[in-house]
């Protein structure tokens, strides 16, 4: 292991951590904005709209994020009318392309997680809300959505970790994320694994932090589900 070379490029790796976090956090945020309406609308099973939303989830969960990113980045840029339109000001940047592909992808997964959690709302909670005369919208806001978020927490934690790991796809469309920095190190010094091991360790550390944060959140938000003696 050439630790000297890794530490010599500590700056590059620090920048790359910022890049990976920016991409992951921004994608998750936009993905959540997509997922919430999609999940609620899907539980209502509206004609036509449901078919469209199912199609969205089907396509983005059914194809690899690598392919989606490639299509957004290299695919769309092949069309001259796109390059000539205002869309190109957005799509010209690799970061935006990654953000679009990642957000749509995590949006589809998150929508399914939320939908499952909404549909798992205990009947008793609904009946109680109706019994005291809540309107459907108020019930959604006060009972169903908060409960669904609590139930979805462990699964969503997984999705966050998968999204962090999935963001490595960005390195193939010229973005210097953590994996990109590792590959640069390998290429620069003809190394076989130093760059990749460094990247792996950094992802491991970030995953550890994320898992820890979700663990703490779960302890607080799901406190009411634990046996009384441990509360």
């Amino acid at each position: 292991m050439r630790f000297d070379l890794i530490f010599k490029h500590a700056d590059m790796f620090l920048d790359s951590i910022v890049m990976t976090l920016e991409l992951t956090v921004a994608s998750l945020a936009i993905g959540m904005l997509i997922a919430m309406p999609v999940a609620v609308l899907r539980t209502m099973r509206l004609p036509y709209i449901d078919a469209v939303l199912r199609g969205y989830v089907f396509v983005f969960r059914g194809t690899p994020m690598l392919v989606q990113t490639y299509l957004v980045y290299y695919g769309l840029s092949q069309f001259e009318f796109i390059r000539d339109s205002f869309l190109w000001t957005v799509l010209r940047s690799p970061f935006n392309c990654a953000l679009i592909a990642f957000s749509l992808n995590t949006g589809a997964y998150t929508a399914e997680i939320l939908r499952g959690a909404i549909e798992a709302t205990p009947k008793g909670e609904i009946e109680a809300a109706q019994a005291i005369g809540m309107s459907p919208l108020r019930m959604l806001r006060r009972i169903v959505i908060p409960g669904a978020f609590r139930r979805a927490l462990p699964q969503y934690g997984n999705e966050v970790i998968l999204m962090l790991h999935g963001s490595t796809v960005a390195s193939i469309i010229t973005i210097q994320d953590i994996l990109g920095a590792g590959r640069t190190l390998n290429g620069k010094y003809y190394l076989a694994y130093e760059g990749l091991v460094t990247a792996a360790v950094l992802y491991l550390a970030l995953t550890f932090l994320i898992a820890g944060a979700f663990g703490i959140a779960a302890r607080h938000l799901q406190a009411h589900l634990r046996p009384a003696s441990t509360r």
Partner: protein, 252 residues
Amino acid sequence: MKTIAAIAALLATTAVAGAAEMKVCVEGAYPPMSMMNEKGEIVGMDIDLTNALCAEIGTDCLLVKTDWDAMIPSLLEGKCDAIIASMSITPERAQVVAFTQKYLQSPNMFIGKADAGLTDTAEGLSGKRVGVQRGTIAHDFMAGEFADVELGLYGSEEDIYLDLTAGRIDAAFVDAGTGEIAFLSTPAGEGFAFFGAPHREVKYFGEGAGIALRPGEDELREKLNGAIKAIRANGKYMEINNQYFSTDQYGE
């Protein structure tokens, strides 16, 4: 029947190999330097140069097609006596083989839109985005000499050309030889051209490619060094060069 023919051919090759005075390891998988034609023969600029050099030192040469990974081991085991395969002279390799002087030093160059009026200066490239292959000497050069220019880091040269035509990058900085063959001379490269000077700064790009020999073969090395100088002087080198490239691949 085919098998027998193949074995016979193999034996014949071995027999000839024994008689040849110099066996040269070549690659056959690095167009346009060394490649296979439709007939299954090895052709390319490395091959033409090999023949010219062998003629110059008055030796019969036998080409031994060898995979890149096996080049140096084959040389050291005596399966061939020289490697002529665009092999860059690097300190690591120089520890195990003896290099002749360089016979090739393909420059790196910028490619951009022919009518964009780009120049290879800090001012000319300021605010532009330049594509390079990640982790290559071209990447090092850009990071070292044009620290303020935004870089797009690509996994392969093909991806660079895709984004150059799409307009996501304003210029590419690539090996001039492959840039010309793989992009500029293809329909996709229409409207694009090299700009700026050919870059061969030793600090980044090293000394070029030499012929690798077994250590201690000083007599052969001197003969080949003389032959390289001779074909440079008598125009034979450029005659071969111009069949493949529009720029001189030898350098200074």
